[in-house]
Every structure is written in structure tokens, then in C-alpha cells.
Symmetry: C2
Subunit: 601 residues, 2 copies
């Protein structure tokens, strides 16, 4: 990535960068980057074993872009006439590649379709605004000429927030915000920064860090997601334990809606009626376009370190996290893998030397013999500390004491270094396994401490059953990476071999099992991935029918013509069949196990 | 106060308490309690001196209740018929005293009117629901029969949230929530408690503390305000530095609206679209009735102490607070008085012994001579610590080091003890001074650190000018009592002798100066007192016209008949004259100084 701030902070469209990198159309990340499995000799064998793969896997690469037939392009001439004097021609793209890149996010459903060249809908046009004024122009023209606007940040969303839905014959514009990418102001005394919404994570951090500050927001998608996207989806970064979720960092914002521009004030707290920031945060583009936000930022810490610990089981690791919180001792991040995820983590290890192997096996033997660890149950905990020297040392000392109490075994800096090296690479794996007809996905939720074990256990059981139902062997894992005073997130990863000819339905059948479990067992439909289209069937149960009515009211009031990102957040009575899974599919999938005593291959 | 939990937590209306104390109709607090000035020998002389009082003040007590003519009572028979089988007769009150108690909150405008027997509007009926089911019944009947509902908690609001406005001939019911007063569940593991919204502060804390927990929310109004009121107005308590504002403590809630009941889930964080909790928090009764909330609670701390410090000036005190925050060292509360407020605080001292006097004068001499303190500029800082022994000591040690750096002089526990004794008594003073035609009020805001001095200075200047304009001598003071990473609150207190015959206009002229200054100098219209009616003229500037439109959309969607607390939050183009201050008043008041070279008496 070579994204650099080259602007003096002047909010002048003409100075903004004219091009920003797009992710590959068919998968995650940079066009020229693939997940490097060659330096991880144990990973593929681990996956094959876990997934019950026997024999050679069939390779199914994405189709060629030339073979994809794009949906008919609907170009609304009146709209273009209205905007043509306000934007430069090169801000308006209508070519196939750009339409393809903006057709989907990166959910499993998205990737499965695009890899097969299934593009039933795509934006007709992509526009790259360079100032808020241009966004206002575009929304005004769109309102007048009945054009749909889908705000687009980095394109990393995995909840279906970006896809074209409920068009009703209208032209669709994907509004790519990436040229609005400047840190406009930094108030070092107040620790606030006014930042344009289209800036990608690395570009924003470069601009802030140049001046000694950080937002402290590092989601897995960091390299390919934007501030506006984070705010619109209530994103959480790896360091949320210290810095909070994105909604905790927004001091004020500006959001252009079809009914005018919402502007809030940069004050730390207020009692000025309903919190207007909070109406915009999480609105997923259905009310308007977030153009900038003033964010709480932090001076860069002097010291920083990530350390690994091994716990005998998930429960003890959870207890250790909880006790740290109760003692008001908050490392900057704490990430606890369950046993399944721990085994996956260890399978990521790179080529080793005989000496390292010898040390590792010695450690294992020691843990088994002297600590009584069952190596099938051990859980890896990564914990990061930062601050000035005193704070850093004090936190480490306190955490060490608590972890020891719960039999945490200190592994040193090795696991932390490995995590730091590969922390943004995880999403690339999915492209690799999809080449071999393996489904891999994630679903995450949160709950209170007293319900954590129940929700974890039930969801693992439901996922295990759902995948097994479809006649294949499940891989399951879970980690906790966002902890709060009252509870934590639970982030489930699941994978299996695909059922040929029913790949998407199989996926949805499994996804449904996760979401049903969240909603029926005291969780929420998502902790930080958004509602989008993927989670529509569970919205009403999550926020109650009257809660949905409240969101509908906002939609009706601020976007009366329904031009903003239709078909997201609001369920509008969606059925499972409309979501992609018919009763017949369910019946067929839930009985596959009995029909296929050996797994598909 | 003898409020005790006597219920086993069963959410059964029949078991709820049938009576709850009401504040006196004409002033603050318990009917039989007055502010005790006799044990504060220096307070009255201090006030007289500050306010330029010469000679005897005229005493103007409140009128007798018998002399008050109530507005015509509008009883909607169809409504009563609809509800009569669902509630017991004694839940429905229509007597004069109850109407009077529920006619107003406790703003200066409220008290000034009621003390003079000016009651142009009052609720026609007061209903005391005992369950959410009854609230639903009432809102359903109210919608059908066009009856207005004003939710009423403790009645302590000072922003005009409770008064009858925009009735259009409809009957008005004040919905007094005080019988819904139970802590229904305590989840000790998750530190959450499900609590009915009508519970008063002391009752709630008694129920929680009995089981070893606290909400940690102690606003000045604590004794006479309710959980529902706090949530509906985005309240802040004295310990917000540690525990947060009320909006930070809400895990989930239930709000009955005319369009159904909003129910959210008890999860620590979510990404399920727009945060529905946040649509209800701060809604000030215009969307519905909050019936219960699940709140984050905390185990009672083992150690607790409040200490006093003296700083040479306000700026150094502010710097000390800011540095503690930057060092992640957060006492449970920090309260810094400016010089004016410090002098007022010291005037509260009780009868002293010659020895104490001698010590105090010795300390003053020492501070002047050896520390170079200017006693007209010194600022009192109260700082509270809590936690287990280690945390408590560690915080004290850290804070002491920072305070020393900024020349903070340690005063020991004395000022803290005095504060603890009288912390809920402050609102009683206003009744006392109003007996003598002295206006006393507060306005509070917040801003970021870099703007703190500017906003403080400008607002002090504007208040000074506004009060002086009206031909009287101002008393002004300010304190900081809620600090955040990006800024703090600023809480202004102001008082003066009243202009006979123009008391209310004079007050509004001064109030306007404060609010204008907040809005024109980077503040917000209120940090924790709500919009209500008092702050309507500044809403649109604070949250932007499109922000207002968003709130209007919610109102229209959830309360289409407009029965919920009309005339609050939404400005609807209100003019200053409709607010109570005509152009003629302004012209007359701003020129009074030149006409009255000596102050009124």
C-alpha cells in the first residue's frame, strides 16, 4: 500500500487525490497479493484434516472478468445533465471493472457469486466526490431525478451493505468516498481530529501519526476500510478495550441527507435532546452520506508490546479477562482464542528450525506433565500493553498477577510478533480456500458475562449441527477480542467443504444457525459487522418491532424518496426465501447427513 | 426521606408502593425542610455584599395555596371510561394539590410563577401507573381519545420539561411514575441491574446497596429525581468521571410509545443498525414513557474519600485535571470551583471555634506569604477516590503528584466532609433567596479542552454584562464537575437582585446571555439539564436544522397524534417573544443600567 497524505489539509476538492486503490473485484485486498501459504507448512494439512478432506480437492478459480456478463446499464441522462457542470468527467466512471468492484462487498455470499460471474445487479455508475459540496449536489440531483445512491468506502463490508437492492427501475450510483481522504484539523490540546470520511485506515493513520497521534482503531479490515464506513457500521477495532468502539470515538460529524445536512457540535458530552451523532452512527447509508467526523484521537504511546499466554481452557481465560476488568486494569487489547481457534493459530506457524521445534515440544511436554494442561483444550491469549514506561510496566505487572491466578502460562513475545505480522492477512485466506470449494466465514455477537458460556456453547453446538446436517465435517472456532465492563464479544469462525450445487444455500443454512442462536440465546445479531442485507431476518427480534418503526420513521423523514441505499437495515417483512433460503432448501440440507454417510469431497 | 424497598422484586403492580413523597409545590425538596442558614453565619453577609444589597430586603414569601386559582379542569370522560376497569380509582388524582405539584418542574421560571400563584396551565389529572401494562393501557386510551401524556419522575427538572404546552384543548395527564420503583433483577456477575424507571435515587441505591452494588449516579437532584428522568434527560451525576453519564450506563431499556413498545437487548455493544437505546435516551418524554432500564452497576468500593485542594487560580486547576486524564488517572470525581464559586463555598462554613479560626487565618497567611497565592483568585478543588486499598492509594498518590506540579495545596478531608454533608442541599438555597427577591440560577454547557478558557471567559463576561445591564450587581461563579478525555463541562451559577415588576423578563434576559454565549462560542445548550422548553430557542443552532428534522421524524413516526409531552425539544420556529422575552423587554432591560446608576434594592 502506498497511500500517503499529500494535502495540506485544505478541504479543496481539486487538491484531493484522483485515484485510490480498489480491492480485487473477485476477492480480498490488493490485486497483486495472495495469501502466502508456502511459508506455513502445517496450515494446509491442518485444514484438510479438520475438514475431513480425503484425496485431491477440485480447484475452482474465479471466472475471468471477460466472461462476466454485466446487468444492463441504466444511465439516467437527466441526472447526468444536472451534475455535469459540477463535477469533472473523470469523477464519473461507468466502465465494467469499476461496476464490478462496486457491485458487492466481501461477504461469503458476495464472493461466491462474483467468483462464478453471477452479477444480477451492479451500480450503473460510480461517482467519486471530492468535497461535501459535491455530495450535496449529487444527493440533490439524485432526489430530483430518482437516482439511488449507495455510499461506498473501502468495499470491505461483509453484511451485504453495499449491494444493489430494491431498485424499482431506478439508476444506481455507487458513491465512492475514497477521494475525501484528508485529516483536516488536529486539535492536539483537546485530542480531537476532524477527518474526511473517505480516508482509508493506513492513509489516515499516516496523517495522524506524522503529527504524533493515532485514532486507535484497527479493525481486521483496516487496510481496506474507511472512517465513514466504520462510523456507518459501528465498527470495532482490535484496540477497542482501551480506545472503545468507533461510536465511542465520534465527537461530532456531518452527514448529508436528501433533506439537508446534519451537523453536530464538537463537545465532549451534551444534553441537547436525542443524541444526533447516534442517529447517524450505524445508519449504514440508509439516511445519508457521512462526509466527515471529528474523532477523539490519542498521542502515540511510548511503549507497546503484545505478549502471548496459554490457558488450560477457555473458561479460565475468560475468568482472567473478567478479573482484570473488575480490577480496572485494561490492557489495550486482549484476544482469547478458544481451543479450536488456538489450534488454527498454531497451524499458522512458519518454517521452523530443529532447535525451535525442540523447544516447542519441550514446552508442550512441560505443560502436560507439570502443569496438567490438556493440549486439546489449551487456549491462546494475546494481550497488548501500551503507555509511558510506568503505565506500561504497571499494567503488565497487574495482568501477569491475574493471569497467573488463572493458570495462565507466559509464552513471551513470539505469539504477539506472529500476530502483528499477519494481523491483516486473515481475510485473504478465504480466497484461497474458496479456490478449493471450501466455505469459510465468521459471525460475531456479544453478550453479558453471566450468559457468555451459555451463548458460546449453544452457538458452537448449533453450528456443529448445522454443518454436520449438510453432510460435511465442521471446523469451528471462536475468539473474544472486545471486552467490556458488562460482557464481551464472541467471534465465531466456521468452515467446511461445500455441497456441490447447493453452495450458497448450504452457507445460508449454516449462517442462519449462528444468527438464530445469537437471537434465541441472549446475543445480538452482530457486534461490529452491521445489519446490511445479511442480517435482515433477525433485526425485528433484535431491536423489537417498534425499534424498527423508529428507524423507519427516520428513513421516511430524512429520505422521503427512498434514494439512500435501499433494502438495508429495515427488514420490510423479508422472508427466509427472499433472503436466499427456501423451505425446500432447508429440508434438503438438514437431511443430507443421513444421505451422505461420508463427507463430500 | 424514609424511602425503602419493601418488594421482593416481583413486577406486580399490586405490590408496588402506593404513595411516594412529592416535593413541596412552591419550591425544592421535602415539605418540612428549609435551607438552614443559621449555622452558616458568614453566608448571608457574603451574599448581601456580593449582590450590593443595601438596607433591608423586602420579604416576598410564596402565596398561600388557597389563594391560587387553578386553570379550568378538562376531564375527558371517554378516556376515563376506557381506563376505569384497568386501574384502581386511587391511582387517578384530580385534586388541586396534586395538579399544582405536577404543574411545573423547578426551574427559576417555574418557581417564580408558582410562588406568585401564576398557574395558567396545569395537568387536569395525575395518574400513577404501577406496571408497564398500565402504561400501555393509558397510552392506548390517550391516543384514542386525544389526551396528552406528560411523563413525570421526581419533578426536579429545571428546563421546563414537565410543563403543559401546546394543548389545543386536549386534556392533560401527568403520568407520575414513582410507584414503579423496584430493582427487578441484579445480575452480579455481569454487573447489570434491571430497574423500574420511576424509582427515586435514594430508594434505588438502598435496594442496590443492600446487595452490595451502586449505580454510581448522584446528580445534585439525586434525592428527588428518578431513573427514568435521568435517562430521558441525559443526566450526569457527581461521579461521572468514573461511572460515566447516564447514557453510558444504559445496557438496555423499554419505552412504551403510542406506536408500540421499544425493547432493546441487554448486550454490552452491538452493530445492529442505529442504536435504539440512544433514540430513547434524551427523548424527554416526547416519544414515549421509559418504563425500565437495565443499567450497568458496580460493586460498592471498599475505600472512599473526598479531599480538598487549593489552586492559585482556575487555569492551574484545569491543567491539573487535564494532566490526570492524560495520564489515565481518573479519580471518581473532580470538582474545581473558580474564584467566585470558591468564595461562595467558603462562605458556607459553619460556626467556628477560635482555634479553627486561628488555624484558617494562619493557613491563609502561609499561602499568601510562602506560596504567593492571591486569595481573591484561589480555587477550591474537591477530589474523590475509591476502590480497593491498592487502587485507592495508587490513585491518590498519582493525583497528589500531578496536583503538586500545578501548585495544588492539600487541604485534607475537611472540605470534602463539608461537601458530603451538604451536597444535596444546594437547590434549597434558591427558595431562601427568592423569599428576598433575589434571582439565583444555573446554566451549564461543555466544550473541548482547547476552547475551555475562551468559553469560560466569554460566558462570564456576557453574564456580567447582562446582569449589569439590568441595573444590578452580579454574583457569578463557575465550576467544572464532569471531565472527559476531550473536554469538560462548565457549570455557571449566577444571581442578582430582581428588577421589580420585570423579574421574569430580567431572568430570561440573563439566561439568554448564557445560552447565546454557549452557542456562539463552541459550547452546547446544556451538558446535562435537557432542552425542555427553556432551551428551545437554541436547539436548531446546536443540532442543526436537519438534526431537528431527524427528531421531528421520530416524533411523527412514533407519536403520530402528538400526545406525548408536546412543546419540548422541537423548536417549531419558536420566537424569543413566545419564549417569554419580547424585543421591547430586551430594549428596556439592556438600558436599565444607565437609568439606575445605583442598584435596585
Amino acid at each position: 500500500m502506498a497511500i500517503q497524505s499529500n494535502n495540506n489539509g485544505n478541504n479543496n476538492g481539486a487538491q484531493a487525490k484522483n485515484s485510490a486503490p480498489q480491492m480485487k473485484w473477485w476477492g480480498w485486498g490488493d490485486e497483486d497479493k495472495r495469501f502466502n501459504i508456502d511459508d506455513k507448512p502445517t496450515l494446509w494439512p491442518f485444514l484438510c484434516k479438520k475438514l475431513g478432506v480425503e484425496g485431491e480437492l477440485v480447484e475452482t478459480p474465479p471466472v475471468s472478468i471477460n466472461d462476466i456478463e454485466m446487468p444492463r446499464q441504466n444511465l439516467n441522462e437527466a441526472f447526468f445533465t444536472a451534475i455535469k457542470d459540477k463535477l469533472r468527467p473523470e469523477q464519473i466512471h461507468t466502465d465494467k471493472k469499476d461496476r464490478l468492484v462496486h457491485a458487492y462487498g466481501k461477504s461469503f455470499r458476495d464472493l461466491w457469486r462474483i467468483r462464478r460471474g453471477i452479477v444480477d445487479f451492479a451500480p450503473d455508475c460510480i461517482i467519486y466526490p471530492e468535497s461535501e459540496e459535491e455530495v450535496v449536489t449529487l444527493l440533490t440531483a439524485a432526489t430530483e431525478h430518482q437516482v439511488i445512491i449507495i455510499p461506498f468506502g473501502g468495499g470491505s463490508n461483509i453484511a451485504g451493505c453495499l449491494e444493489v437492492r430494491d431498485v424499482n427501475g431506478r439508476m444506481v450510483v455507487s458513491l465512492d468516498m475514497k477521494r475525501m481522504n484528508q485529516v483536516l484539523e488536529l486539535d492536539e490540546e483537546s485530542c480531537t481530529a476532524r477527518i474526511q470520511a473517505g480516508v482509508l485506515g493506513p492513509d489516515m493513520e499516516a496523517q495522524l501519526q506524522e503529527r504524533g497521534h493515532t485514532l486507535g482503531h484497527f479493525p481486521d479490515s483496516f487496510e481496506f476500510s474507511t472512517l465513514g464506513g466504520w462510523v456507518a457500521t459501528r465498527s470495532a477495532g482490535m484496540q477497542s478495550d482501551k480506545y472503545g468502539k468507533i461510536e465511542d470515538m465520534v465527537v461530532s460529524l456531518r452527514m448529508v441527507t436528501p433533506s439537508g445536512t446534519i451537523v453536530t457540535r464538537s463537545v465532549p458530552k451534551a444534553s441537547n435532546g436525542i443524541n444526533i451523532n447516534q442517529l447517524c452512527i450505524g445508519s449504514e447509508g440508509i439516511l445519508g452520506v457521512i462526509t466527515e467526523a471529528t474523532m477523539q484521537v490519542h498521542p502515540l504511546p511510548e511503549y507497546w508490546g503484545v505478549f502471548g499466554y496459554l490457558f488450560p481452557d477457555f473458561e479460565l481465560g475468560i475468568k482472567a479477562i473478567h478479573e482484570c476488568i473488575k480490577k480496572e486494569c485494561r490492557p489495550v487489547f486482549v484476544r482469547l482464542n478458544d481451543a479450536g481457534k488456538t489450534q488454527l493459530s498454531f497451524a499458522f506457524k512458519s518454517h521452523s528450525t530443529p532447535f525451535k521445534e525442540w523447544v516447542a515440544s519441550g514446552m508442550k511436554a512441560y505443560l502436560k506433565k507439570f502443569k496438567g494442561f490438556d493440549m486439546d483444550k489449551v487456549c491462546l491469549m494475546l494481550t497488548a500493553f501500551e503507555g509511558d514506561y510506568d503505565l506500561y510496566q504497571e499494567q503488565r505487572r497487574k495482568v501477569d498477577a491475574v493471569y497467573k491466578k488463572y493458570q495462565g502460562f507466559y509464552l513471551g513475545r513470539g505469539p504477539g510478533r506472529a500476530f502483528e505480522r499477519g494481523k491483516y492477512d486473515f481475510p485473504y485466506i478465504r480466497d484461497l480456500v474458496m479456490d478449493y470449494n471450501i466455505m469459510a466465514d465468521v459471525s460475531e455477537t456479544s453478550t453479558v458475562w453471566s450468559n457468555l458460556h451459555n451463548l458460546y456453547k449453544k452457538t458452537m453446538d448449533h453450528l456443529d449441527k448445522a454443518i454436520s446436517d449438510t453432510g460435511v465435517v465442521p471446523f469451528l472456532g471462536c475468539h473474544i477480542s472486545h471486552s467490556y465492563f458488562t460482557g464481551t464479544s464472541l467471534y465465531f469462525s466456521f468452515g467446511c467443504q461445500q455441497v456441490p450445487g447447493k453452495e450458497l444455500q448450504q452457507y445460508l443454512y449454516i449462517k442462519k444457525a449462528a444468527e438464530d442462536s445469537f437471537i434465541n440465546n441472549g446475543g445480538t445479531l452482530s457486534h461490529h459487522h452491521a445489519v446490511g442485507f445479511e442480517h435482515l431476518p433477525w433485526v425485528e427480534q433484535d431491536i423489537s418491532p417498534t425499534g424498527v418503526k423508529a428507524v423507519e420513521s427516520l428513513k421516511k423523514g430524512l429520505d422521503p424518496m427512498g434514494i439512500m441505499n435501499p433494502g438495508k437495515i429495515l427488514p420490510n417483512g423479508i422472508t427466509l426465501e427472499e433472503w436466499g433460503l427456501s423451505d425446500a432448501d432447508i429440508r434438503e440440507l438438514e437431511n443430507r447427513q443421513s444421505k451422505t454417510p461420508t463427507q463430500a469431497s
